[in-house]
Symmetry: C2
């Protein structure tokens, strides 16, 4: 293999592919990136056996070939080159890296040792803008759980109904759901994507303003743009039928500035260190939400946040961290807190976003 390309392209592709690299001691080749010439481009692949990333960059190919190289070594190396043009050439199991001012021989492993990354040929296809998908994913994925007994909760549900894609996550104490409109294609399919993959996916897709094609197959899902493919295994199991527990009617609603409510919950949380409980009271007389917390150790706090109220007085106790999780993952300037009574789930929605809701269970005291 002999490939010549720019530092910037190589660096970008290497950093991207490195996102699937953990630190694997049982199978050292998983710490490596697979470099291959393919159709006039350099293809860089990585996998941790759950998530696989493939990316392609253009350049000049003088010799076909392939090799695997430690991801950390080559990425740090290319990052610290100050020259613009870089040549990569295999020499048996080594990769020779040359640029104007630097010459290196990097030890690799044969490409044959690299695990096979499956190609997804068939499945239900839809398209969606990369940035829109990324924002939706980051609005829900934090609500998933790392559960060994209920592995399906360790993932994000992708529920495609025609051209509507609902993504959702829950740990049974709170639930987040976002509804996305897809562009082309469509069909009926429910899959569960591991949360670790979703986190990387949101990071990678956040920079992509073009459309991403999603192909849902039986055991895997593929996210595909012009020059990147992300393949994930799916979590087996049946996702909880959460639609039944989503309340439709509320007795009290209060609209509040997100930044003010965030500060109030952070402040209140200081005095809720033992059990995370913050009592929340809608006071129609004060036209405010009143937060109360008490700690044996630290002391006690009462904080008021003014808001626009619809309905009557109401009261509920939350784990304040669950509320902050939601507030920290929205860009909306105002949120609406919707309450039924102290023992029913409460809902948070974002002003101007009809496609998102967050449910949080009350703490019964």
């Amino acid at each position: 293999m002999k490939f010549t390309g720019t530092k910037e392209n190589l660096k970008k592709a290497l950093l991207l592919a490195s996102r699937a690299i953990g630190s694997n001691t049982t199978l050292p080749v998983l710490n490596n990136l697979l470099l291959q010439t393919e159709k006039g481009q350099l293809k860089i692949s990585s996998t941790n056996l759950e998530l696989a990333i493939k990316t392609w960059i253009g350049g000049q190919i003088d010799e076909q070939g392939e090799i695997t190289i430690p991801a950390k070594t080559i990425t740090e190396h290319i990052t610290n080159i100050t020259d613009e043009k870089i040549t990569l050439q295999t020499q048996k199991n080594n990769l020779v890296i040359d640029s104007k001012n630097t010459h290196s021989i990097v030890k690799g492993l044969p490409a044959e040792e690299f695990p096979l990354i499956p190609d997804i040929k068939e499945g239900i296809e839809v398209s969606i803008e990369g940035k829109t998908l990324a924002e939706g994913l980051s609005q829900v994925s934090f609500a998933s759980a790392f559960s060994e007994t209920q592995p399906e909760l360790s993932g994000v549900l992708f529920n495609l109904e025609g051209r509507v894609l609902k993504i959702a996550a829950t740990d049974r104490y709170r639930l987040a759901e976002k509804t996305l409109q897809t562009k082309d294609g469509g069909g009926e399919k429910k899959v569960i994507v591991p949360n670790r993959v979703v986190t990387e996916l949101a990071r990678i897709m956040g920079d992509i303003k073009k459309d991403v094609k999603i192909i849902l197959s039986e055991n895997q899902v593929l996210f595909k743009t012009d020059d990147v493919e992300i393949i994930s295994r799916l979590i087996e199991g049946k996702y909880p039928d959460y639609q039944e527990i989503v309340p439709k009617d509320f007795s009290t609603q209060i609209k509040i500035k997100t930044s003010e409510l965030t500060s109030a919950f952070k402040l209140s949380g200081i005095f809720a260190q033992e059990n995370n409980n913050v009592e929340v009271e809608v006071d129609t007389k004060k036209t405010a939400l009143i937060l109360n917390s008490t700690s044996q150790r630290a002391g006690s706090n009462t904080t008021e946040v003014s808001g626009e109220i619809m309905g009557g007085n109401n009261k509920i106790v939350f784990n304040y961290r669950y509320v902050l999780d939601c507030l920290n993952h929205t860009n909306g300037k105002k949120i609406i807190l919707k309450l039924i009574d102290p023992s029913s789930p409460a809902m948070i929605t974002v002003e101007g976003d009809d496609n998102y809701f967050y449910l949080v269970m009350p703490i019964k005291v």
Copy 2:
């Protein structure tokens, strides 16, 4: 005690005083800040028994008094208040914090439990601009060692000779020295300030454009501005007489762009993971510095950096991390590397700064 002040002033003072707070489990009161009214101001003090910080802020005092309050609780609390005006009032061993939208009772400890922070009344006095002192300290302090057998190396030497203050640090493998001109006062005094204190001092002083008064006494040193006092204990012991080993004459000098040399050492370091050794060669024919490194595991690298050479060819082996430490702590655009031979210490100076040098021992191979 009853004090009313602005959020911004309180926040700034609390964050500053919190710099002396560690997490002390044997003496819980050390996790607290001491709040006292003093001469129409609120005084906030902290200590970890090595370093003490006192700071004063203005406001309205309606009642004299004092209390100690957990640093973390009150700092997080004040940071998350969105109101501008805050009132602090003692109620037995509690502090009541009030602002427009929030009311808290924070549990404290009596002021009597707080350790006495000694006042320094007498000593040799000099003045120096805060920012200049901070920059000098950060240029040398990284070269100190955390040594239990040689505690004097765990500190930074302050060597006052008349109106010239030399600050220096060494771990016996490298040495950094900065010469500062003081403004008022002067005298003869050598003290060793713990490196942990110097690190905090550099952070705090970095924002101070006014002069800082330094008072050197027998067992302590005081750094004093209008509204902040930092008191540190001194390390006992005799600082090594390093002046003798500082070479005056060099056979080769090469002037190089700092950013290019930094990239080159980072790149070379990737292939020096086993022993940190990078061979450095001044090549008059190529008018360049050539870096060579080899790793059993990773491979090998050769990198060239062009420079302006005075003198002949030369060669030396460095621990590349020691060189990077120096390069990472200079703002100078170009540095000058000065060599004698492969077994003598090398020197790095910064173009345009005659008051700084860094010595690094060669690795004998």
